[in-house]
Amino acid sequence: MNMDLAQHAVRFNSRLLNSTGGQIQSSATLPLRTDEHVVGVRKVVREHALELKLSLVEQTKLVTAASELARNTIKYGGGGMVLAQTLSDGVRRGLRLVFADDGPGIVDIEQALRDGFTSGGGLGLGLGGAKRLVDEFDIDSRGGEGTAVAIIKWKR
């Protein structure tokens, strides 16, 4: 299941995965099924952020974005996984997170990214808000197949 989803995430986000040109230094996946998993993702992302020596503000932004996207994967995608990869392009290092689910997909991505739009009774800040908190953001969603969201934060 995890492996399937990992491939799914990579397939969905091949554009972002290829466009950055960074070498992958390490790669790990975490499940996203329960509320506790969201807390687990925050913890792991915080550890990576510390290891990258991100400033406290940048750490907080990255962990918050991860928390929003992890919750979306569970709440709207019916659960899935997150792939965490540390990157290096020779000059700088970064962290890429890919959130993938096999859920119903997002019909109108532009609408979903707009602040205040929600289909599930939330505040509608998760997706657009997460995008503002990171350096790179990409989303791929297909009706009936699932959604994958990739974000990258670089250490400046």
């Binding site: 509320d35 506790e36 907080t60 932004k61 928390s67 919750r71 503002r132």
Partner: protein, 119 residues
């Protein structure tokens, strides 16, 4: 079941959140606080988040909702101790917690609540 403790000081309720809350725990706290406002006839609620290194949209919404529920139950809520990095992230996320009074620390929060109903 896991719970965040609520302390009573006079007619104030004090909550110090010291763990990274998952969503159910945040909802339980909202429910517990609302019930305690009524059962303790509390006039003020202080929520201390100085130990929290993250407030995302869910926790932010829980805080806003708690303040709104307290208000209709005749109690004031003050959120205290937010870390600067959390404040920067919250605003960038788009969450400005309208209607929630804030203070820099517990002492200032208590002073604020005191002024609003003690005279």
């Amino acid at each position: 079941m896991e719970r965040i403790p609520i302390l009573r000081i006079g007619d104030l309720l004090l909550v110090t959140i010291q763990v990274d809350m998952h969503d159910r725990l945040a909802m339980t706290l909202q429910d517990d606080l609302t019930e305690r406002i009524v059962s303790d006839s509390a006039k003020g609620v202080l929520i201390d988040i100085s130990a929290l290194d993250l407030v995302d949209s869910f926790i932010g919404r829980m805080i806003s909702n708690t303040a709104a529920m307290a208000r209709v139950l005749d109690a004031q809520t003050v959120l205290v101790g937010m870390q600067p990095a959390v404040a920067i992230t919250l605003v960038e996320l788009g969450l400005t917690l309208p209607g929630v009074k804030t203070a820099l620390n517990v002492e200032k929060g208590m002073a604020l609540l005191g002024k609003s109903y003690l005279r």
